[in-house]
Assembly symmetry: C2
Homo-oligomer: 355 residues x 2
Amino acid sequence: MRPTVHDIAASAGVSLATVDRVLNRRPGVRAVTRAKVEDAIETLGYVRDVAAANLAKSRIYPLVFIIPAGDNPFMRGLEAEIAAAGARSSADRTRVSILTVPAFDSMVLVEAIDKAVSEFPSGIAVVAVDAPEVAAAIERARLAGVPVVTLVSDLAASGRDHFVGIDNIAAGRTAGSLMGRFLGDRAGPVAVLAGSMLVRDHRERLQGFIAAMAEDFEPRVILDVLEGQDDPMLAEELVATCFNAHPDLAGIYSLGAGNRGLITAISAQGPRGIRVIAHELISHTRAALKAGLIDAVLHQDAGHEVRSAIRVLKAKADGVAVIEAQERIRIDIFLKDNLPLEQPGDLPDPSGQDD
Amino acid sequence: MRPTVHDIAASAGVSLATVDRVLNRRPGVRAVTRAKVEDAIETLGYVRDVAAANLAKSRIYPLVFIIPAGDNPFMRGLEAEIAAAGARSSADRTRVSILTVPAFDSMVLVEAIDKAVSEFPSGIAVVAVDAPEVAAAIERARLAGVPVVTLVSDLAASGRDHFVGIDNIAAGRTAGSLMGRFLGDRAGPVAVLAGSMLVRDHRERLQGFIAAMAEDFEPRVILDVLEGQDDPMLAEELVATCFNAHPDLAGIYSLGAGNRGLITAISAQGPRGIRVIAHELISHTRAALKAGLIDAVLHQDAGHEVRSAIRVLKAKADGVAVIEAQERIRIDIFLKDNLPLEQPGDLPDPSGQDD
DNA sequence: CTGTTAGCGCATTCAC
DNA sequence: GTGAATGCGCTAACAG
């Protein structure tokens, strides 16, 4: 039987209240008494029953997720996963709320963070915008004692407690490595379609892609990056123009969220054997993968990210350790041959817009 | 505030004990009373607090893992992950024990299952051997009310509650798809190195590989499968012989656990530009990936599998639902560019033997 | 500074 | 058939 507070109280010759005080590092205990108790804890190998503690405290963990608004399907899928976690929240004593803010607007994001902090939640998960004022806001949250994790897009300089997301440089390298192997001896330049070079994820993916292509394969021209602003119309136009300008185009790496435009442009060209690698498995990319229009899709599992963020925030709030391996978000690689079954709640595309 | 048993007792005009009886479907309640209570449960939207219930019951979940003995590094890594979960077991009210049995010996496995069942654990996870007597043993376990999940290797006919592992046909298809793309226009046959065709996982991977190669790419000779019995010496010999017999060999798919022999044989050949795809990320395959001797490694995350098995068994024991998406074991694809950081406890290779 | 007591939500004796 | 009382391991008033 595991030792309980009673056991350590008896062993140390004190009362439950005193044991509780040292367990929870509360003041009002003499150093000697404290030492006796800590000794007993040590020798008995006591570990606190968190479930019982939470029961006694009637503790719930209010958690705030701050994510970009807009019709980016990945973000909407993320939101759906957060909502799904919220529906399960009674089981894990958690209460999650979602704040959506205009994408890429650091000032509004700062306001949202400050507002969230003012309500003293147990933790905040935020899709960060790469700006100093945001880092400062996160810093304020931490000073207020509110754990913060960055989600999907990191902001290391902020001193956030943890980052929940993939290694985007590695993702770019992976795309480059696959592209190099897929192309083999085939000549011709490679195009890169991004959303915006102002976003850290996109920059890092590009950086990794270029590095891997350069290090491991024969020299190959990589065309100037096309910035589609994650807008399907613009992306389609850019890609179509690129096709015309480079009839010998060998491959395309789409590292952002402009995939519907990309797919439209590729379809319009007919089969030219161009190798295509894109990011995020959503309905459009899934269909294109099946149809052979896209060769591979790199992906991050939004459900995993949300569950991980919740586990990590709870752990930080309780000051306990997490299982590192469980919180590592994988760079999933999907070919048409290892597609997971489509599930009802999976990354919906509610607006019928694009990604 | 969530409704509690008190609320529903008050609402139904009965006592706590009666509420408890209908909650736990115990006899001794009149139909009318039961109806009243169920009504209150329904209208108040009561959901039981499992943590509190477990506290009251002082419940722990004894879980038994039955896995193959021997020096297969994947299995030893699996064992390490089970042990790691055991070390954390106090947190989740779980107590895991490990039974190792000789590999591929169905009779001993049956004995182990029956023995485990006789101690009435909360659940059993077993790396199944594909044999009818094993299916029968699993069936007996379920009749005894003990939930069973198959781990890594399935046995669907057994009526197990759940399978924790990857889709091996999809894994084979994925390997085939990658191989086809990696080879491109390059001519030459492809070899397949397996452990044994008596094992279901290996059969399924081969089947998927051949199907994908045939469906999606130009016709290509796939040589007769080499059965290395997961023995490094034999595997090396078979691969070396194959190299000599087929100077134009274009690729090798290693779908079993004979990778050290494979790697030795490839190294001995010097660079011939042969495309190699293997299974399971362990120290040898990791090194070979970095060195460029292997192009890609398909992998299943043993840590995830163990944690999933525990979650599923607990859920089955409590008769509650699992989060499907969380329990789907991915076919991880590793290139040298997306290798996870090597962690101390990761898939050790304790015996210095092989895989 | 330290101890006593009640209670978190639920399960389980025992009476009635 | 049903209810009252006690306790699981822990925290939080409130006394002293």
